[in-house]
């Protein structure tokens, strides 16, 4: 019996010690929970349904509500959830009640003081010996500061992105403006060069035309007065008259070349310029027995041009084409428009003044002549370069054409066609529609 007494004493002592250890552990746990702003809640489950919820002591720091308030009002936990986040919280609860282990959920709650808070809710299931869900615990962290920091970061990032985009746009605009400036500068240099050439040409023209006038009228006087029996005198006088006409043609070409700076730019129809130029060279076309094919786009956008100068361009090109062809030849004029690089492809030379995506209008003049020897292709725009027989060409026609196109901010390219003959491509910028609108509106 003494042994039993001793055993009972030992057992009682051990139980006491164990109870004390448990009490101490619980107190430590409570102190720990009370010391943190985060808290734990427990949900008791019966037959898959939540039947009771208890909220740990830290809940007041996070939600503003005391544990007792949650106990008194069993729907308070749901009502404090931000309205927009309630479906996600219910989904999390449903999943855990189904026995799943859903990932932690971050959502908003409305603090008792009315402010919005962010929490991270991590749930851990508790199962009985049969593996059924008996309860689950939830650990709630207050992540408001982190979320606010994230928000600030996101806003700062968005702002940075907006600034970066604005910077990129500004950079693009600057690049565009710089390019435009360069083009304008080139046009100004070209115009200044032409103006000085023009001033010189006008002076030369005046000085040369007066002597030509004397010679021409001198010939007019001599021809009826020369001895009828001397045929050579008549031939020499005739040659002199031809020489005067040739010299005058050169002077005229120089004046045209120089007059290219004096432009009257308006929104115009390139097709109309083609048609008018064709009417003006009709006589040469008929005399040369060549036929004309027009492939003119009826929906061609308008272009900013000096119509008279552009007609002069077409006249020069048509005459060149007609003179290059034998009877039976075909002169084909095509016009079309498009966005460079998208639905319009032109040679590198012709696309030089433009950028990808520019809205352009193009005219193509093609003949069926013998073409231009490759060595001469690079010289065709040089003043006084001609392959025509002496006396029939001044060599200024294509120089005039190129200068006119340059001063329109356009381009020209001359190539031999694979099918034979020459293809000339003229490219001009389409008039922006808003500008047309404002012009029409004024």
């Amino acid at each position: 019996m003494a042994i039993d007494c001793v055993n009972i004493e030992v057992i009682t002592k051990s139980k006491k010690q164990a109870d004390e250890a448990t009490r101490e552990s619980e107190q430590r746990y409570k102190r720990l929970l009370a010391s943190v702003t985060d808290y734990v809640y427990s949900v008791m489950v019966e037959d898959g349904l939540a039947v009771a919820t208890t909220h740990g002591p830290g809940c007041e720091a996070v939600t503003g509500y005391a544990s007792e308030e949650f106990e008194t009002d069993q729907t308070l936990w749901y009502e404090m959830i931000h309205e927009e986040d309630r479906p996600a919280v219910l989904e999390q609860a449903t999943r855990i009640l189904r026995g799943e282990e859903p990932p932690p959920l971050e959502h908003r709650i409305i603090h008792k003081n009315g402010t919005e808070r962010w929490i991270r809710n991590t749930t851990v299931p508790r199962k009985d010996a049969q593996g059924r869900l008996a309860a689950y615990d939830g650990l709630v962290y207050d992540i408001t500061e982190r979320k606010q920091a994230e928000g600030r970061l996101t806003r700062a990032h968005a702002e940075l992105k907006t600034n970066e985009e604005a910077l990129k746009r500004t950079l693009e605009e600057l690049k565009g403006a710089n390019q435009q400036l360069k083009e304008t500068q080139l046009q100004l240099i070209q115009a200044a060069r032409l103006e000085s050439v023009g001033t010189l040409a006008a002076g030369v023209a005046h000085e040369v035309k007066n002597p030509l006038q004397t010679i021409l009228m001198g010939l007019d006087y001599l021809v009826p007065n020369c001895p009828a029996d001397n045929e050579n005198i008549a031939i020499v006088l005739s040659d002199m008259r031809d020489a005067v006409k040739r010299a005058n043609t050169i002077i005229r070409g120089l004046l045209q070349l120089s007059a290219a700076t004096d432009f009257e730019m308006k929104a115009g129809d390139l097709n109309a310029s083609v048609q008018r130029a064709l009417r003006l060279v009709k006589a040469q076309v008929i005399a040369s027995k060549v036929s004309v094919i027009r492939k003119l786009d009826p929906h061609l956008p308008r272009v900013r041009i000096d119509s008279g100068r552009i007609e002069q361009v077409f006249i020069n090109l048509f005459i060149n084409a007609v003179q290059a062809m034998s009877p039976g030849g075909v002169l084909t004029i095509t016009t079309r428009s498009g966005r460079l690089g998208d639905n319009l492809t032109i040679s590198e030379t012709a696309s030089r003044p433009f950028h990808r995506g520019d809205h352009l209008v193009m005219a193509q003049v093609q003949d069926t002549g013998t073409g231009i020897p490759p060595a001469n292709l690079v010289k065709v725009f040089d003043p006084f370069f001609t392959t025509k027989p002496v006396g029939t060409g001044t060599g200024l026609g294509l120089s005039v054409v190129k200068n006119i196109l340059d001063l329109h901010g356009g381009s020209i390219d001359i190539q031999n066609s694979a099918a034979g003959g020459v293809v000339v491509i003229l490219v001009l910028r389409a008039e922006p529609e808003e500008r047309l609108g404002s012009v029409q509106g004024t």
């Binding site: 023209a205 005046h206 007066n210 006038q213 004397t214 005067v244």
Partner: protein
């Protein structure tokens, strides 16, 4: 019946031009030509010569053709005398483009053949 020769005053600072114009026109026996190479004395010459028509160069030293034309037109007895400009500063294309008129007056672009000059004189002497 012999028709009266028309008096033409030619004003141009280039003596070679006025000389060949005079020779060409006078050999038709239809015109009497007075050549003037100095614009400053041209008004007095016109008042004395009483031309039926004046052929006038545009660019001349001292006094240009346009100004001289205004002076002619300011004088009562010369007011109705037709004036035709001769100019080296325009091309034939420009003459056609402007309908042969500059400042409301007809003009011919140098170098011009005598046949064109005569056709122009006939046209303006008739009207």
């Amino acid at each position: 019946m012999k028709t009266e020769k028309k008096r033409i005053l030619v004003v141009d600072d280039e003596p070679s031009i006025t000389r060949v114009l005079k020779l060409n026109l006078e050999q038709t026996n239809n015109y009497t030509v007075r050549a003037e190479n100095d614009a400053q004395t041209a008004v007095a010459a016109a008042q004395e010569f009483k031309p039926h028509l004046i052929l006038l160069d545009v660019m001349m030293p001292g006094l240009d053709g346009g100004e001289l034309a205004s002076r002619f037109q300011a004088i009562t007895e010369l007011k109705s005398v037709p004036i035709v400009f001769l100019t080296a500063t325009a091309t034939k294309g420009e003459v056609y483009a402007r309908g042969g008129q500059v400042g409301g007056l007809p003009f011919l672009a140098k170098p011009v053949e005598i046949s064109e000059v005569i056709a122009c004189l006939r046209q303006h002497l008739r009207s």
